[in-house]
Symmetry: D2
Subunit: 413 residues, 4 copies
């Protein structure tokens, strides 16, 4: 294991290009690692750039399918939604990126793994906790937390100067007034002008979903079929289009979701490092699946299982958000969640329309729903007089409580 060999998560952008060069100057041998998680990047160009700057070797890894099947789908099945609103798009991509990076470190005999995430965000935590969990003996190189690096690069100007000095191409893209992160599940927008939580984003900031006001005037009805809480088929009832392959299915949901303006949120969230942060997210396919799964659970999940699952759901989401994907507590919760997903089978019919994804029908072969039972007119197996005892027994402690409160003079009734 070479202590001066580092696998660097490399994006092709200015920051990681500078870090690559800086690490070389610091005497590291650098393995540039480019993870394709579905972002809209030119990976060949990034690879070329890494080599130009001096990467000793370059790995470009397509992680899209694995991201969808092993991270996105299980998280959605488990009801993971951070603080009740955020579907964790970035949080889900970080562990898989880190996992492959650690594998490359093992393959390449590198003793270090590095990234270009800043010291104030969630991503540094997610990367580094995953490194620690999977490669506990690897050293972590995080320049944005290294005094020497911070001293050298005190502002954008220092970076541009360094780039020019070392012949690093500076991307010609317009300086954006916010920063983004993208993968197959979502695109996030934050910082810059978005830091004012009262400042609504411009309509032209968004690239994934159309604005609801620009979406088609016609409802698009789709059906999604699930097996054990995993989507196995999507069908567009308007045109009959159907997808069954996980990656194709998810990509298609992103497409029709985005077309109908579904899945955009604008929130202030609590970062793990104790800061509140404003984020805007576009998650079309994930939003549709989230809505459909919760609807299917209504008909197919046992009441008490749902109650307990819902109590655990905030913990589950926080584990993912905070970067503990590879952790004993994740294994613990997964044991229960997998159990709860058995028999979550069936079809949900949804209407997509100008920002809405609305369930309008659902069917489950393993449904606990019984039309006979729930009918108001037909008694079926339900003896109404049973309710009397049920209620009376549930009343006992309420009566006792009232009588005591009265006796103790804390009540006037």
């Amino acid at each position: 294991m070479d202590k001066k060999r580092v696998v660097l998560a490399y994006s092709g952008g200015l920051d990681t290009s500078i870090i690559l060069k800086w690490l070389k100057l610091e005497g590291y041998s650098v393995v540039a690692y480019i993870a394709d998680v579905g972002q809209d990047d030119d990976f060949a160009e990034a690879e070329r750039r890494a080599k130009t700057i001096g990467a000793d070797s370059v790995h470009v890894c397509d992680l899209q399918r694995e991201l969808v099947t092993d991270y996105v789908f299980p998280a959605l099945a488990g009801g993971a939604i951070y603080e009740g609103r955020y579907l964790l798009g970035t949080s889900l991509a970080r562990p898989i990126i880190a996992k492959r990076q650690v594998e490359i470190a093992f393959e390449e005999g590198a003793g270090c793994v590095g990234h270009g995430a800043t010291g104030k965000g969630n991503d540094q935590v997610r990367f580094e906790l995953a490194y620690a969990a999977l490669g506990p003996r690897l050293e972590i190189v995080a320049p944005w937390k290294m005094p020497k690096f911070l001293e050298q690069f005190q502002g954008r100007r220092d970076m541009i100067h360094f780039a020019e000095e070392h012949g690093i191409e500076i991307p010609v893209t317009l300086e954006k007034s916010f920063s983004t992160d993208e993968n197959i599940m979502h695109k996030s927008y934050e910082s810059g002008v978005l830091e004012d939580p009262m400042h609504a984003p411009d309509k032209d900031m968004f690239t994934v979903c159309v604005d609801p006001t620009d979406a088609p005037d016609k409802v698009t009805t789709i059906e999604i079929e699930f097996k054990d809480a995993l989507p196995i088929r999507v069908k567009n009832l308007e045109d009959g289009h159907e997808e069954t392959d996980p990656l194709a299915l998810f990509t298609y949901l992103n497409e029709i979701g985005g077309k109908n303006g579904v899945g955009r949120i604008d929130i202030v969230e609590n970062r793990f490092v104790g800061i509140k942060s404003r984020g805007v997210y576009e998650t079309p396919g994930g939003t549709i699946l989230h809505v459909a799964l919760r609807d299917l659970e209504g008909i197919a999940m046992d009441k008490e299982v749902k109650r307990l699952r819902d109590v655990l759901a905030p913990e589950y989401a926080a584990i993912i958000y905070n970067g503990f994907w590879f952790s004993p507590e994740m294994e613990f919760l997964s044991g229960a969640l997998k159990q709860s997903q058995k028999l979550i089978d069936g079809v949900v019919r949804l209407q997509l329309y100008k920002g809405n994804a609305t369930p309008v029908g659902r069917y489950s072969p393993s449904s606990l729903y019984n039309e006979e039972l729930s009918s108001m007119d037909v008694a079926g197996g339900f003896d109404q007089t049973d309710s009397r005892g049920f209620i009376r027994i549930n009343s006992l402690r309420l009566k006792a409580h009232r009588l005591i409160v009265r006796t103790q003079g804390q009540d006037e009734s």
Copy 2:
């Protein structure tokens, strides 16, 4: 306390009219109690009908304001949403109806309280648990669980026959293919044709919200101001219309929400009595407030308080749904919830548009959000190098876990 005097929750409809008459025939003196919780009823007509049938006295009580301020607003502030989707419109009206009913029993010296809810639903439970909690010595008369009544009325035909026999007017309204419940917070639709969970409701079933496809093509932007998580002002930014009175404010939110198709859901839920039931709900104002409050919490609520509150939220919603509004556990949770609502102050700006209620801006004078802190460019009070220690200490047990798992041969890496 007269053991043969009953305060009957009376709606003016066929069922409770028959029950009123039947109770008279059974020898009860009957106090008809008509609760105005905002449903679209003719209360004067109902009063007249009760008297005609033979009510010994009639009470018509306007409970709308109290329902909004003491039940709807606190529940929304506490984040009560049953099974993650249902805002509990019916559940919130039941305890206040029962509370006034018990008070009337005390005033009238009646030993019994009665209702016309069936033996399979949630409402019987909610009524009777509230009766037990507030009037533990009152006897409950629930004909739909009394063998004698059930034997006499085995079907609709028996009821019509009885009505005709005793000169009870049969409402001329068309026999509906579903049943509804309405109050100022929502209108519910269930049973009948809706029992098939795959059967989408007809567009013309709905009376509260327009269909999103029929809503205005233009976005309506509003601002809601909160103090301690209670709404104190609503302003329509399009026309400057403003409301500050709780009842007027809530009524106005219902109006603009309904106009924009906001707040309609179609779900299968778990009743307390162990049955799954399909319900369709329209909750325009409640939905807008729910969305706005969760958004304001993002900026104004402490992270750990939010985490704990979210763990308790399913319990809180279930307490309300199951009918335990007046209970020791409700007092217990309320103690914490009230604490969490202090300083949830500020303004949320929302766009209403064809079914969507989307927060696009928020401001809080007591915000824990600090633009400086969360900015990526300005270090402010946040020392990025602190993150190193934070992450390293959070990594410790993950590293230990991996090393043990390896040692124990349960891992190949």
Copy 3:
């Protein structure tokens, strides 16, 4: 399936003997089912008695080993302790008794299962929920809730009269001033004189444990070895006695625990049916294992897993106490619990002495405990300066909170 054939849980005592006869008189064919769960009974005598009274067939089933391995050990491993104090001895025996009973019903083609538990206790619930879960189409015959039976037997006198009339032997045992239930895990005492919660039980009531004041004056030190949170070896360090078979091991722990007065509690608990009830329990072996397991978890269980497990523990205990052993929520929790028990391996050394079972040492091969790490003198892998960043980041929101509270004038400091 014979609708008039019932498998009756039969104890040989007066109550179930009367029920057996009464069912015969009601026209049932009766299969007497005698479950040996470790209680101090004469099963041959009970079998003889059942035949004499008229049982059509008799099954005597030794369930002790299965009770220990499939119910007692998993419950202890999962930390099940109702209301923080009761180790669920009776609750654990009910499901296995019911399970075998349902199997016999299937084998014998019986359409009914019956029991002699009263209508106020937990046991009726536990039996009947297990019947429902395992034999949903079986009819339940519970005479103590049948109006006809209740009318016939309004007091002890009626029962004795019926017994004499039908030649049923009345056990000559002295009328006890309390009632008991016993199995291999524990013996319970309740009702009668114990109903006064201020009345301490007489010393001579107890039959399982000696009174701590009568226990040996010398400490007995034992070691228990666990694998995946299950006990696999007990060794008495005083005399070298060792047991490894689950049943023998548990029986031995009962013996030495009882001899040292370990495992007696006297509590008021909340029954599922809403009544508070005073119970006195003796659970020597279970108490020792509970104490030892919690101690081993200290050294071998991950901190966050423990935190989440402890949040779920009251739910787990309530599921068992309330009779939902065979339920979807039990499967849900078990999924997580099993995960948490992996690697809970090692040895706990305990001192038994006059009512105490005190851990004084523990060792785990898969321990997350690292003497180096936790030492105060040796820095090991722990960099003390990391704590600075850790604390500072944890402080951020506390500082923000205080500054806001001050600004809002809710604080004077």
Copy 4:
């Protein structure tokens, strides 16, 4: 506010004496702050020593009463017990020490607060989080995390050398093979020889409780009276001795508890900083109150309140253990806990005997316990036939589940 003036938590021991001197040499003006939380120290001697070394001023503050009434009693009432075993003796003293220290900083115009806790323990976290919460603008001086200090003092030898050089008296007490912390609630022992979790502590290490084997051969019976879950009277039934003042009462419980060997535990716990640590604790009075309160809750606390409280209890204990006593989440939980403590009134009778504190009787004027209700012989207000409906309704979803599982072929029965 003087940036170079520090209020130092000073114990009189070698470490904080060296820190005091070192801070003076670093140019600080030092306010020595000696907190009397009940530890067995010579405060006058410590004050003298501080002055000799050069403290600019000295504050000796008796915090015992406030510690008992505002920290220990509320924590016990709330059921705080970390990881199910540790009553948090040290954790409860830290916030009050820090609170007074911050107040002194405000009084003295000091801009800094300092302590001598190491960088690996919980205490540094507890002190510093409390400083941050109460004095968010104060600077924290923690030499054991300062590189300059750490470099100067790399071992015990450096400290002794420094002390000799600067005329600091070195306490003549024997070098102990473990370290301790003491306050009115407990004494803790850790590190040194105790780091081996299999090494049982020597009998002569303990100074608070006698060894159970050395305790009196006779049972001591006491009664404790509570009002709103706070102890208001202790009576020794053997000799009639009675205490009602909070401090006197708690001191007396420590005395008779210690005399009877009650309250000693030996555990491995999870520190907040991710390390497992072995600790031995003696908490006589706290243990007795904990046991008595849980017993009183059995009879006086509502079942559902208890269930929810028990779910929150691990969170409550962790908040205290981790040092978040002054935090929004503490205020949140306290809101609920206070509610749950209303009407927890009554008397608990306990037997103290050779390490045991065993409740044998309890009475509550506000008891929810009703002898009539829970009696097996007298039906009272409980209609046994109500149980039928109660159980049948609870069975519904279990039956549905089984039937579905069968249909789906996942079950053979």
